[in-house]
Symmetry: C2
Subunit: 336 residues, 2 copies
DNA sequence: CAGGGTATTGACAGCGCTGTCAAAGATGGG
DNA sequence: CCCATCTTTGACAGCGCTGTCAATACCCTG
C-alpha cells in the first residue's frame, strides 16, 4: 500500500538497491539488460524517488525559496512566474512565501524556508535589517531582487529607480509643470527613497523649488492613494501633475482623478498598470520589467548555486541594475 | 561550519538527542531546567530542524503543492496568495508549479511534487485525463480548484459557471440584443463548456436562435481575442454584444473595441479585470471570486489532510460550488 | 591458459530525526 | 526505611537514499 522504495524496485528487478540507484540516476555504467529490468520494475511499481531522503543525504534539497511582498501583486506575480518557469527547467522546485512587507514576517518566512534546506533564496527585502541572514542562511546562496537589502557582500538585481524617476519628473517639468505631487508608498523601502531622490534631483536640475506639502508617503494601498490624491487636489495651490511611486498607489490616484473628472491632471506611474493604455488619458508609465528582473536574478542565483555546490570560490558580489524605459502614452505628457 | 544538528545541541546542553527532540517539539514532559539548557543551546548554535529528516521519518512533509495555469495570471495569483497565507498559518510550506494549460505538463509537475512527498495538493486541472492521479498521488489528499477534473470521487471547489453565464446572457437578451458573440477561450476546459452551455441555455430560454458564426473558441490570449473581435465586427451581420469567457480574452476584446472606437458595443467579461470600472463604458463583469474559491479549497484540503493523518475514513467527496455575482457597471447594460 | 586489467554489481554506513522501549531518578505510602 | 509508582531521560533502530569500497565477472595479452 505504501509508496515503492528502492528496496521494492531492487527486489522486483532482482538486483541490489545500489543498482537501482544507478539506473534511476542514469550516470554510472550499468548493462543494458540490467537497466531494462530495473526500468521495468520502476514502471511496474510506479517508483518515484523520495527527494527528502536525497536531501537528507546531500544536505541540501533541489528547491529554491522565493520571498516577495505579495503573491497577488501583478509585479511580484510576474516575477514568481518567471522564476518558477526557469527553475523548473533547471530541475528545481519553488517554495513561495509572502511577507506583506512586514520585516518580522520576512525573517520568519526565511527561517521557515531554511528548515527545508533550500539550495538558494530569492528575496525581495521587506525588512530593513538583514544581519540575521548570515546566520539564517549559513552559506545558502542569496540574491536580493528589486530592492537592495543593504547587506554587505550580497548579490542584488534591481532597477534604475533613481534615474527613471528623475527622467519622468524632468519630462513633466519640461512640459511646464511646477507643482508635481509625489504619491509615495513607504519611505522605509530603499527603492522608494531612490525614486524620491530622483524626484528631488529633477527639481534641482531644473532649478524649480520643491514643495514638501506635495509629498505623501502614506499611499501604499489604492484607497490611501485615492485619499491622498483628493487631499492634494484640495490644497489651496494644488498640484497639476502626479508622480505615483508604485502601481498599487497609481490605481488609487487614477480612481480619484476619474471620480473627480480630472482628465487634465498629468500623471506618471512607476510600474505598469494593466489596461492603463486604454484609460483616458492613456497612462504614461515607467515599465518596471518584472520579467527581466526575474530572469537576471534566476540566472545569477543558478550561477551562485553551482559555485556553491562545486566549492568554487564565489566571485565578488554582483550588483545588476537594469535600465528602465518611460512609456509615454499621454497622461504624462499633458501640460498644465 | 556546517549547520547544527540535534547532536550538536545535545552535546552543548549535556543531554541526549532525544531530549533535544522533546524540547524542540515541545510536547513531552521535560524539566524546566533541562528545557532552558536545551533552549539556550538551540539559540547559541542557531539550530533549525531539518525538515527533510523529519519528512523522511514520517513519510510525508509539511508541504502542499499548488498547481495552476499561470502564476502571473491575476486570477491564479490571487488564489496562490490566499493559499500561501492560509497554509503558512497552518504550518505548511507551499510548493508552486505552473502548467500553462498543457495537459502533459500538469502530469510532470504533479509527479515532480510527489517526489517531495507533499501532504496535499491543490490542482487547477489542465489535463483532460486525470486517471494518472490515483497512481501518482497514492493517497495524498487532492482538491481540484475552479475546474472539475472529472475524476470520480474527487473533491472539487468551483463556481457556478453555467448559471452565471446564463444570467449574464439573459440580461443582454432582455436588453434587446439578438446577436451576442461568445468569445471563448479553449473548449477543452469544462468551465468554458459550462459557460457556453449557459450562453446557449439563455438563448433557448428566450427563444432566440443562436448563430454559430458568433462563437469563437480561439481567444485564450488577448491578441487572439482582439483579432476575433475585429473579425466578428467585420461580419455582414455583426454582433451588438460580446460575452468574453475569460478576463484574458476580455482584455483583447476591450482593446479591439477601444481601437475601433466602438463604445456602443455591449460587453460582459467572465472574471474581473483590473481598473475595468474606470473604462468607458465601465466594464460589467462576473466576479470570479478567486479569494473565496481559494479559501474554500484550502479549508477542505486541511480537513482532508487531517483525516488522512489520523487515518480517519474520508467522507464522501465534496463538490463545493460557489455562486457568482454579476457586477453591472455599464458595458453589459448597453442596448443595441 | 595464467595474469592483469576493466566493467559491472553489491554490502554497508550514515545523513538528522523521532518512536519504542528501557533505565534511572524522584516520590510516597506502609 | 523499603518497595511500588510515576516522572524524566537515554540508547538505539530505521525512514530512503547514495558514497565508499570491495567483490565478482569479463576480457585481452603474452
Amino acid at each position: 500500500m505504501s509508496r515503492a522504495t528502492v528496496y521494492d524496485v531492487a527486489r522486483e528487478a532482482g538486483v541490489s538497491i545500489k543498482t537501482v540507484s544507478r539506473v534511476v540516476n542514469g550516470s554510472e555504467a550499468v548493462t543494458p539488460q540490467t537497466r531494462d529490468r530495473v526500468m521495468a520494475a520502476v514502471t511496474a511499481l510506479k517508483y518515484v524517488p523520495n527527494s527528502n531522503a536525497l536531501s537528507l543525504k546531500s544536505g541540501s534539497s533541489r528547491t529554491v525559496g522565493v520571498v516577495v511582498d505579495s503573491l497577488a501583486d501583478p509585479f511580484f506575480a510576474a516575477i514568481v512566474a518567471v522564476v518558477e518557469s526557469k527553475l523548473v527547467t533547471a530541475g528545481y522546485t519553488v517554495l513561495v512565501a509572502a511577507t506583506n512587507r512586514q520585516g518580522a514576517r520576512e525573517r520568519e518566512q526565511v527561517i521557515a524556508l531554511t528548515r527545508h534546506r533550500i539550495a538558494g533564496l530569492l528575496l525581495v527585502p521587506a525588512s530593513s535589517d538583514h544581519t540575521y541572514l548570515a546566520d539564517a542562511l549559513h552559506g545558502i546562496p542569496l540574491v536580493m531582487v528589486d530592492r537592495d537589502g543593504e547587506l554587505p557582500g550580497c548579490d542584488v538585481v534591481r532597477v534604475q529607480d533613481h534615474d527613471a524617476a528623475q527622467e519622468a519628473i524632468a519630462g513633466m517639468l519640461a512640459a511646464g509643470h511646477r507643482r508635481i505631487a509625489f504619491v509615495g508608498d513607504s519611505n522605509a523601502l530603499p527603492t522608494n527613497r531612490d525614486r524620491h531622490r530622483g524626484y528631488l534631483d529633477a527639481f534641482a536640475a531644473a532649478g524649480v523649488p520643491v514643495d514638501p506639502e506635495l509629498e505623501r508617503w502614506d499611499s501604499d494601498q489604492p484607497d490611501a492613494a485615492a485619499g491622498a490624491t483628493r487631499a492634494l487636489l484640495a490644497l489651496p495651490d494644488p498640484p497639476t501633475a502626479f508622480f505615483c511611486c508604485h502601481p498599487r498607489g497609481a490605481a488609487g490616484t487614477i480612481r480619484a482623478l476619474h471620480e473627480l473628472g480630472r482628465t487634465d491632471c498629468a500623471m506618471i506611474s512607476f510600474g505598469d498598470v494593466q489596461l492603463g493604455d486604454l484609460l483616458d488619458p492613456a497612462l504614461t508609465v515607467i515599465d518596471h520589467r518584472p520579467e527581466e528582473l526575474a530572469e537576471a536574478a534566476v540566472a545569477l542565483l543558478l550561477r551562485r548555486m553551482t559555485e556553491s555546490a562545486t566549492g568554487e570560490v564565489g566571485r565578488d558580489p554582483e550588483q545588476i541594475v537594469l535600465p528602465l524605459q518611460l512609456i509615454r502614452r499621454g497622461s504624462g505628457e499633458l501640460t498644465p
